[in-house]
Subunit: 290 residues, 2 copies
């Protein structure tokens, strides 16, 4: 049995392709005293990783060329010399993209409570994406019954949950996503009130049609032209939680966002947030949502 | 004695010049039952009036071609057939730019309490500009002792007060203004800790020099390149009250604001506000600040 890992081979310029990565065999991890060996089952490929592939600082440190990609991984304990973790248990942590990884002293690993749901939920609805959606949609968006909430990247890990939370708070929820399959997923599986394919529609036309009473909360995942359109269709007093501007991640230049003066005339509040500021709320969130 | 008024002669494109206005004689106002005639003494020329000179909606209705310019005016009651106002009293209201105006039934006029200070303060520090500075700098900016507060348009009616309020709250206050006279005014008369001439300096260089510990509150009066620079120099968790984007008022195109993704990585909150939402707080504000 050989171990395998995925490295950053070169820094992407613009879009990422396979040439940015290298899959290579690597040593089988040795389990020293207090260590834990984890076998990866699910790994999370998140938009913020794009920033970490660049040179220079982002809110998380960058990856080095030739170093493994690290992200949220759910796995199973294969070997443990640590009293806190037993063989066979499900855990999650920020781990290398490798079949098997040694975690020194088990630091940063979290045991997954199997009674809360499927283990993979620890890196989706019951993990960071879920908490991100909750903080953005509920704490910053503050949807009221009857409000219209618009979510971009609505089929994404965060967007699909942001919409569902806002809908349970009594809001009418509209999503945009790229392509008919994602739109169908948002409508049929996530229960949004309306959704449209932003690649196939004029944004203003689609927002006029689906948000006829304007936008009260815009959960922004993409920035750019979508954020500009949301400003144009926003109601007075709208809240815009900014979760991450995917449109900027692969961009090699910044076209800027037009129409910010609408923030004054419409008294709009835009708030950027990062989930690492809110991690302490994760257990309470899991208990509430599970 | 003849009466005179100032009309909008044509809509400005870009910058405003004298050809946009016409000064013409007009009838002496007649004081009907319940009416009040006001003689203007001070009138306020505010940035937001630029928007009202355009076609199309802003947050205040537009001026018609050939109609008088209207703004905040302090004047003296010349004639009154209204029991609420006595001849000789100081009042303020949104009045035509005219030497003398009749105010039907005195509606919209406010008597000025002469014990609070000079009557002209009713349209400056004790009026809307003062309340605007207070709401933006204090309620939205929430400066803490030791914070760095940066105010653009710092010599303006609102900016000069925003800085002084933040300084009394214990913050270090830095202002920018156009030209050495305005910079001297901000430093010597308004007591800012530092100020610079944005026309003579590179913005990044000036902010690096005067805000060495970064910006915690940016009181934005201008938008555009200044807002972009403030984003670059902002600290994590910074608050940006947006008071009005003067740089956009005369612009014939919108270059957009670059770097908004910094709002996410730095968890910045930007909030647009308009003072008309807060007018009910004016008496309490006056009592506090006078």
């Amino acid at each position: 049995m050989t171990n395998t890992r995925i490295l950053l081979a070169r820094r992407p310029v613009g879009w990422v392709d396979e040439s940015c990565f290298r899959i290579e065999p690597c040593p089988e991890p040795a389990c020293g005293p207090e260590d834990v060996v984890v076998e990866a089952i699910w790994l999370s490929l998140d938009p913020y990783l794009r920033g970490r592939m660049n040179e220079g600082p982002s809110y998380a440190p960058g990856f080095a060329i030739g170093a493994p990609i690290v992200s949220r991984v759910v796995g199973r304990v294969r070997a443990s010399r640590n009293a806190r973790f037993a063989e066979g248990e499900f855990v999650w942590g920020f781990l290398d993209w490798a079949l098997r990884t040694v975690v020194p002293r088990g630091e940063g690993l979290t045991r997954i409570d199997p009674t809360l749901g499927r283990p993979s939920l620890a890196i989706s609805a019951l993990g960071m994406p879920g908490l991100t959606a909750w903080i953005g949609a509920m704490a910053l968006g503050r949807p009221r019954p009857g409000d219209t909430v618009y979510v971009s990247s609505a089929a994404g890990a965060v967007g699909q949950l942001a919409g569902q939370f806002a809908r349970r708070a009594g809001a009418r929820v509209v999503g945009s996503a790229g392509g008919p399959d994602k739109v169908a997923f948002v409508l049929e599986r996530c229960g949004f009130d309306a959704a449209f394919d932003y690649k196939a529609r004029d944004l203003d036309e689609a927002l006029r049609e689906h948000c006829p009473r304007g936008i009260d909360v815009y959960f922004d995942n993409v920035g750019g032209a979508t954020l500009e359109a949301a400003l144009r269709h926003a109601n007075v007093g709208a809240r815009f939680p900014l979760c991450g501007m995917i449109s900027a991640y692969n961009a090699t230049s910044d076209p800027g966002v037009k129409g910010l003066q609408l923030m004054v005339s419409k008294r709009i509040a835009m708030t950027g947030f990062i989930i690492y500021d809110h991690v302490h709320q994760l257990p309470a969130y899991q208990a509430r949502v599970a």
